[in-house]
Symmetry: C2
Subunit: 163 residues, 2 copies
Amino acid sequence: MLYLLQIISISDNKMPTKKHTLEHSRRELGSAGLRMTSQRALILDIISRGHKHLDADDIYRLARDRQPGISLSTVYRNLQALKKLGLVQELHFDEAHHHYEVKPSAEHHHLVCLGCGKIVEFGCELCQEMKKEIACKKGFDITGVEVHMTGYCAECRKKRNKK
Amino acid sequence: MLYLLQIISISDNKMPTKKHTLEHSRRELGSAGLRMTSQRALILDIISRGHKHLDADDIYRLARDRQPGISLSTVYRNLQALKKLGLVQELHFDEAHHHYEVKPSAEHHHLVCLGCGKIVEFGCELCQEMKKEIACKKGFDITGVEVHMTGYCAECRKKRNKK
DNA sequence: ATGGCTGCAAAAGTTTTGCACTTCT
DNA sequence: AGAAGTGCAAAACTTTTGCAGCCAT
């Protein structure tokens, strides 16, 4: 499976600190009848710290470093729960990997280099316009936008030309 | 795994007929040292006819209806070969399914209703601008853009409000 | 003829589930 | 207390691979 998760923008406008997001998560969990367990907190922490793109297994291994007994099922179950809750959001990348990342507040998208695999994030004002346009045209209430571009970065283009 | 394939836009401006795409495919295959087999043709035909979003298994079952001996490995191998060749392109949707669709000529994107699962396709001129903007800002040569929006369609909104 | 392709079966990998036990609230 | 959560192991899926024979070119 290949997808990404990102923590949805914290809805208050203050700088979201770790404490904020943890408390926020706890509230969200609570109001859904779910609990905050050490595993859950650990997983949330890993996802929100890790500014890299982590997959389920990466998260599992990182979690195991800090809490050796944790099981992979727990990771999967929690990713699913958090996703369902809306605390975490799936993105979909290339074929073989699932990654996870934080999205502190601003909506951003991904640009993947097909040469070196580098992932660049970018913000985009046009997306907002696009969203409005499509919402209007199709009569949808749009809740999420994900833009995924692929191409070759400057360095890889240079390398390619040399060959 | 969850991704979509779509036949990349036929590069001549004539209305792409089945014959055209098949010949085109054959040429592309040939120049890569690959062959056109009955299975390959069948799979290509299924993908290019099926205007629905089919996953690997759907394709397998449809193929089996017409050629009972075909194997799932063959479907996978072909999807991969066609993808590598660029005759087919992967998209990434929601979590649990892989779909395939045809993209006759114009770039288009997807809007998924979270209520009823309906998938609406849309074209978007802003995307071209967006592409240019990002290419320029990040120094990339951009080869593909995929936009994926989620939300609720008019009907599902009505239903929701009634509740 | 010869190198790509296929079917079959087995393997590899990822995600889900059943169950008994534990732990938040 | 009671419901949600956990670990473990097994199951369910999806995708990939090895191999012997087949078939486009």
